[in-house]
Amino acid sequence: MNQSFTRTLGMRTILVLVFAFLYIPIAVLVALSFNEGGLPTAWSGFSLKWYASLAGNAAILSAALNTLIVALVSTAIATLLGTLLAIGVEMRRQYGKGLEALIFAPMIIPDIVLAIALLSFFSMLNLTMGLHTIILAHVVFNLAFVCSVVRARLKSFDWSIVEASADLGASAITTFRRVTLPVILPAVIAGALLAFTLSVDEFIIAFFTAGAGRASTTLPMQIYAMIRFGITPEINALATIVMAVSITALTLSQRLNRGIIGQ
């Protein structure tokens, strides 16, 4: 057998196996969510009844609403702060390692550490915890991610056009609106979509900063509680919806800003 043929065959086998490993678990979950009987033991026909039963579950609906509030508000704040931060950092010709570390830290700090740190901090301040404290916490990592996406875009930005605009008499605001913003806008939107997805999916920090009581339960907290209780067909349906939402947001983000995932 010819060597390059074996090589191609080998490469294809690897790809097939890896993609099977990545997608079979998810595919099983999605398939089961449409299974009439709801059990993995047997396929008893296509049905949407688990989706219908979700729509009637008040706890899940209220958790979904909470998640939406947290994700929208924290994304809005993080997008503003993260974008300004990115512009501020990139317009400097040099900056210290300390600044770089501070911006990088929220992306690598273990969730559990930030979670307990914020819990200790909020309880020391005697702050009543709820959705607002989850939002405060989510902005921390969201702004870091927005910042890194926008910075990547600004790396190739020619700052002399900003100076040119100022020389021609444009105010700082006009320059931003007419020169800088159009260049970075795709990255800003991509960053916002990324932040939104991260916030929708975030569990541990929300769990620690939500405070007592069920009023501020978010969707991941609800899912965690349901999973610990056991496998139910409802979780399969819920999981399918949540995955569809994140994957749509991320695909959009990727299209807007080629490269945040790919490079």
Partner: protein, 288 residues
Amino acid sequence: MTRISRSSLLMAPALVWLTALMVVPCALVLALAFFRRGIYGGIDYTFTLENFGLVFDPLYAGIFLKSARIAGTATLIAVVIGYAAAYAIAAAPRRWQPVFLFFAVLPFWSNYLIRTYAWIVLLNREGLITQLLRWFGYTGEPPSMLYTEGAVIAGLVYNYLPFVILACYAPLSRLNPELAEASRDLGASAATTFRRVILPLTVPGIAAGAVFVFVLSIGNFVTPALLGGGRFQMIGNLVYDQFLTANDWPFGAALAMALIAIMLLVLMAQALAADRAAGRAAEVKADG
């Protein structure tokens, strides 16, 4: 306004936010680790080092070692599979590469809890794997796969594999194909070319991927809690317990600090490996 003061003004809101809600709380936790636990929970503000001593107690040190072993195994497996996948993607026709890469990373962006839950569905006693075994004629007891260390490792590998693929693909795709050709023309076998040329040049990607998997695995809380069963403990679960069940915040804080220390050590090792790899890459270029 000067460029620097304008820049500072733009950065200020975000930096204030990060300082108030990350730096200060983390410093607080560090400080907390030096106090005693109050009699009724709470904190007794007398200085002590005993929380750090307790971290080295055989019981807890054992959990650290177990966490490191599990994270290390998951890292090794993820790097081997991830590197092979990245290699295969980089060898695919140019126009297909972004597509493969996108689909390799896509699962990474879906909910972590759900990806972990998918493994409960696969591994539980009446799950898909048991069904498959029965279908092939197996009649014995269903195998116990869920709530084992193996299940935890599988969950970690599954969750973090996409990142390894991404990290390894970057240097592999930038690799100059002429280097491998030159090596082969000079008589090196494919294995030698891989070991002496390709592998050294892609070490930074491997290191980045490995560090990511290790760091996220060793501090993981969700995967051991869901796939390891109720009593399965890694460092993350221990920290969780101190804060939410045992109510010993100072000890929980000391554990968290130990976790951060391990993480920083690993990151430093990575920086070192990256530096050495950069040196080696320069050598290869100079030789070529």
